[in-house]
Structure formats: structure tokens, C-alpha cells
Symmetry: C2
Subunit: 167 residues, 2 copies
């Protein structure tokens, strides 16, 4: 089964969330996403003023597959991959930077954000997130079904499978 | 059959060739290519000091297919495609700009070329090439087999199919 390759949870998740919000405020970008290289959205933030984003799952899948395709071009020149990619359309642009060897940080901006600022603050955010991920010694959350969970589930199943009593 | 979608020949070809050489000198980029969106190399230039490039046909095919894939991301944001794309690896980078709706101008540069210069002179080259292509009223070259061609081909075929006389 495909699974996200980077685990973000607990206090680290909250800290990275703050870094993304901060990036949006400082760069005036629309959205910031952390995308797994297999195509999952790991985290995302949207600026308060930004329009509703398109499907982030579609975006993450396209970004991850294009990243791999572009790595093929980089390999022609003896590079492992392209560290950063900027794409500019008439109004909307994307800036993508590698976040370790498993994920990508993607900033989506429009004409209201100067590209220089987007690059600068995305680079800073990448550094901060890398630092946060390196320091993770938090135990991975585990799921331990207790008596209350067991009772609740039993009751739910009984409700589903008990014969209906007609009035 | 797949055919290049842009015709470059005669005086226009020579003029565009000069624009590409000029781009390389001014920006200190390694290679400049005009790539058809279906994946053909239409023209290319290499700086005299640049190392031997990788297979340009492979490069053109990858660039054209990635351009289309990236257009899918642009469409999510209501754009037709990304006008320009910059990709930077550790040493080598590519800068890609749309050249009309059929071709792309790709500049490949390394750490010795400042990105600002690469962008500036690629943009100027795009403008010049667009202008040159708009003014094309040269007739498309045609192939008219004449008597000499007919005689030569006849002799060639005779040579190929005549029985070998053993000495």
C-alpha cells in the first residue's frame, strides 16, 4: 500500500504548521504545501485572503510526478535532481524546493507576491522545517484500544447487525 | 507521422541561428535549443567552451513531455500553461520560455552564468525570434528531382544491384 513517506505528528506538526503560516504572511503567497514525493499532501496552509484552492490531492500528485520526470532531465546533466523549480504563468506561479530526500515544499503565489520574497521566505521555511524534522524524538503515536473503545465498538456493531424490530 | 510543427529554413534559419549564438555569448549559458512542443529539436547552439552536451533528442523529448505535464498544473489554477520555468540543480540549470504556441526556447546554464542574465537574454532572444518568425514570407523549400539527380540515382541503383563480377 502507498503510504506517506514522512511522518508529521504531535508538537512537530504544530511547529511546522506555524512555519507555513508564517511563510504565507511574509511572502504574500496564496498556499503552501508539503508534498510527499509519492504524491501525498502532508500539510497545507492557505492565506486568509486567498481564493479557494483547486483539489490539493490532484495538485500534489501532479507535482510529485512532474518532479520525478524533471529529475530525468537533471540526470542527463549528471545531477540528482533539480533543487528548486519556479514556474510562472500569467497570474499564478509555483515555487518548489526539495525538503530532504522525501518531500517537497511548494509555494503557490500570484502577481501580488514578488518572486524574490517568495523564494527568500520559502528557502527560510525549508531550513526551519529541516531543523524541526531533524530534532524529532517524539514517539510515533500508537493506537491502543481500551475498554471504552471496545464497549463503544461493540454497541455500534450490535446496532448495525441486530434484527430490526418492526413496530 | 510526427513532424516538427515549426518550419525553420533559409535566411530565417540563419538569422535565428545568430540570435541563439548571441544569447550564449551574452548570458554565458552552455546550450540554447529551440524545441518543438511535440519533442523535436528544431535548432541548437553550443557555447565554444561548453562540455559535450547529452543527447539533445532525449532532452527535447523530456522537456516537451514535462512542459505538457506542467500545463496540467497550470490548468488547475485556470492558466493555459506556465510561460516560463526555471529549474536549478547543484551545478546545471535550465530556463524555458514559450516561443509562440508551438515551440519552446530552452537555455541550459551552469554556475558560471548568473540567472538574471540568463533570464534577461533569453527573454530578448524570444522576442527577436518571434519577430523573425512573424516576418517569414520566404517560400518553403521544395524538392524537384532534375535530370542530374535522376542520372545519379540510376547509377547508384545499378551499382547496388548489378551482379558482382568476380576477378
Amino acid at each position: 500500500m502507498l503510504e506517506p513517506s514522512l511522518d508529521l505528528y504531535g508538537a512537530t506538526f504544530d511547529k511546522v504548521d506555524v512555519v507555513l503560516s508564517d511563510l504565507l504572511v511574509k511572502s504574500h503567497a496564496r498556499y503552501a504545501l508539503i508534498v510527499d514525493r509519492t504524491g501525498f499532501v502532508l500539510m497545507h496552509q492557505r492565506a486568509v485572503w486567498a481564493p479557494k484552492p483547486p483539489s490539493l490531492d490532484s495538485l500534489a500528485t501532479l507535482i510529485a510526478s512532474n518532479y520525478s520526470a524533471n529529475a530525468a532531465i537533471a540526470k542527463l546533466f549528471g545531477e540528482d535532481g533539480f533543487r528548486e523549480t519556479v514556474q510562472q504563468g500569467t497570474d499564478v506561479g509555483t515555487y518548489l524546493e526539495e525538503l530532504g530526500d522525501k518531500a517537497l515544499l511548494v509555494t503557490v503565489f500570484d502577481a501580488s507576491a514578488p518572486l524574490g520574497k517568495v523564494k527568500l521566505f520559502t528557502k527560510k521555511a525549508v531550513e526551519q522545517i529541516r531543523f524541526l524534522l531533524e530534532g524529532v524524538d517524539e514517539p510515533r503515536p500508537t493506537f491502543e484500544p481500551d475498554q471504552a473503545w471496545s464497549d463503544d465498538t461493540g454497541a455500534l456493531l450490535d446496532g448495525l447487525f441486530t434484527e430490526r424490530t418492526h413496530p
